[in-house]
């Protein structure tokens, strides 16, 4: 078989099958590092074997079987080692008893969920969690993860190694958290997924305004998680939110890659399949009684936009009410900022500006470029062009995204000419 075709197939199989192989292995051997190493061994074995014999009809089953074989072998050797230690030491270290047959026939969904909980463990920093998640749950290699984060490969490799070491040092083994622990652990998982999505949705750095590869990975994770725990309203709410936001990705950039604001987007370019998925998920959230959760509320806001055929049709009063709800259950300066935008749309720029004032007092908002960007927009609409210009310049100075910077500079220039035009 020709080498390139084999390499492509094996690389694809790594993407499709490695998360499951690793998940099953983690349950067998307990730790992520060994599991990943064994999975790589299984794939290397596959390449050698398939090079001479061709790819089998069911390569996934072959990989799972080989991985299992390697794991059993490793456990046996470890046990042998272990009993030798036991002869020497009077106290025995803790061992994990695993019924191999039970694991092999066990539920793959549980394996995957367990692995997700492990790599999204709150003991890890959000950065470490997202790198490890992209690598092990999405099946990306370190190079891809580095490219996704616009970071040098050694940095990401280091981050992943350190994350695995942290898990090992804290003796975090494969487990499905107890019911009482679940909500907090699931919140940590959702946080990682939305972090990845947002990094792609509004790239905080780099030359591109949207990095859709990260959005795609976050969606894959969200869809995976929603299928594993289909009755968890906030997880479905998060997925609904991402589906609805992703439905607009095509319309969010202009021909030169510049950002196009929601109200100016060509709505015929919105992805109707994703909108339908988002709205259906939101209905499900409602049936499950979870409409008041923070992700569900944000999804409901996104749905208001998705339902409006034109920008003028937007139900801003409903959006304002949803933001009021969001501000109560999960208050944050960013929510306040959005509430101000919605309020300005529903009740005029002055009402919005009144909500912005307290935000300028917050130290955490001092470096946040969207605050002056929004203030500039509202001041402009209120006819206060010179003040608006100052705010746009401030936003341009604060943003790290070059596309956004030129948009802000453009708006400042626009204000300057309008200001000059008014007597």
């Amino acid at each position: 078989m020709d080498t390139t075709a084999l390499d492509t197939t094996v690389a694809t199989l790594w993407r499709v099958e490695s998360p499951r192989v690793v998940a099953r292995l983690v349950r067998l051997v307990g730790d992520v590092d060994t599991a990943e190493e064994l999975a790589q061994d299984a794939f290397v074995t596959a390449i050698e074997k398939w090079r001479s014999e061709g790819i089998p009809n069911n390569p996934a089953a072959w990989l799972h079987k080989t991985a299992r074989f390697l794991a059993v072998d490793r456990i046996r050797r470890r046990d042998t080692q272990h009993s030798k230690y036991q002869q020497i030491a009077a106290t025995s270290p803790q061992t994990v008893d695993v019924d191999i047959d039970e694991v092999v026939d066990g539920d793959l969904a549980d394996d995957l969920l367990g692995l997700i909980f492990m790599v999204c463990h709150p003991i890890l920093s959000p950065d470490a969690r997202s790198a490890l998640t992209l690598k092990l749950i999405c099946g990306l290699n370190t190079e891809d993860v580095a490219r996704a984060f616009l970071a040098p490969e050694p940095t990401i490799a280091q981050r992943i190694v350190r994350a695995k070491r942290t898990l090992a040092a804290a003796n975090i083994r494969f487990e499905l958290p107890e019911e009482t622990e679940r909500p907090a652990r699931l919140a940590a998982v959702r946080e990682v997924i939305y972090l990845v999505f947002n990094e792609g949705h509004t790239a905080t750095s780099g030359d591109q305004w949207i990095r859709s590869d990260l959005c795609t990975e976050a969606l894959r994770l969200g869809r995976m998680l929603a299928s594993l725990i289909p009755r968890d309203p906030e997880t479905l709410g998060l997925l609904a939110l991402m589906e609805l936001q992703a439905s607009r990705l095509n319309a969010r950039t202009g021909p030169q890659g510049e950002p196009v604001l929601l109200m100016d987007q060509d709505r015929t370019r919105w992805d109707q399949l994703l909108i339908r998925r988002g709205l259906a998920l939101l209905r499900r959230v409602d049936e499950l009684g979870g409409a008041a959760g923070p992700y569900a509320l944000q999804a409901a806001i996104a749905a208001c936009h998705a339902r409006a055929r034109t920008a003028a049709d937007t139900d801003w009063q409903r959006i304002t009410a949803l933001y009021d709800g969001l501000a109560q259950i999960s208050p944050s300066p960013v929510v306040e900022l959005n509430r101000a935008v919605a309020t300005a749309q529903a009740f005029g720029p002055h009402a919005g500006l009144a909500l912005l004032d307290p935000l300028f007092e917050l130290p955490s908002m001092r470096r946040y470029h969207l605050l002056p960007a929004v203030a500039g927009d509202l001041l402009c609409r209120a006819g206060r062009h010179e003040e608006a210009r100052q705010q746009f310049l401030q936003a341009a100075a604060l943003t790290k995204n070059s596309q956004e910077r030129s948009t802000m500079q453009g708006r400042a220039a626009e204000c300057a000419s309008r200001h000059a035009g008014t007597p």
Partner: protein, 117 residues
């Protein structure tokens, strides 16, 4: 990118034989598999062609022909839309479908997107 994975009708289904519980379970398992991989966007199956119709258009003349139609193998039985990285990845998911559900032929076609136009 998106791919449409299509499978084709069997003569038995065309003859009105309902899928056995085992076959239904296999389809359910495949849908769960694809959902668990995070790649399934949408999927539908269709009834035998006796419940459908075909439009043939010659020089603007529209002729409506009621089913059933011959050549079960040429008739679509169902499709799934998958969001994946590559044709190769779509093929691996189609392979899972073939192995779980059983099919004589599966077509994997890329869905045109806005950026193609």
């Amino acid at each position: 990118m998106r791919y449409m994975v299509m499978h084709y009708q069997t003569q038995a289904v065309e003859d009105g034989v309902l899928p056995s519980p085992a076959e239904q379970a296999a389809i359910g398992q495949y849908m769960q598999e694809a959902a668990m991989a995070g790649v399934l966007l949408s999927g539908e199956g269709v009834a035998p062609s006796s419940a459908g119709a075909r439009l043939e258009i010659t020089d603007g003349d529209v002729r409506v022909i009621d089913g059933p139609f011959a050549e079960a193998k040429e008739l679509i039985a169902g499709f799934a839309i998958l969001e994946v990285d590559s044709l190769a990845e779509a093929v691996e998911h189609a392979r899972k479908f073939a192995l779980l559900v059983g099919a004589e032929r599966i077509d994997v076609r890329r869905v045109l997107e806005f950026s193609d136009l």
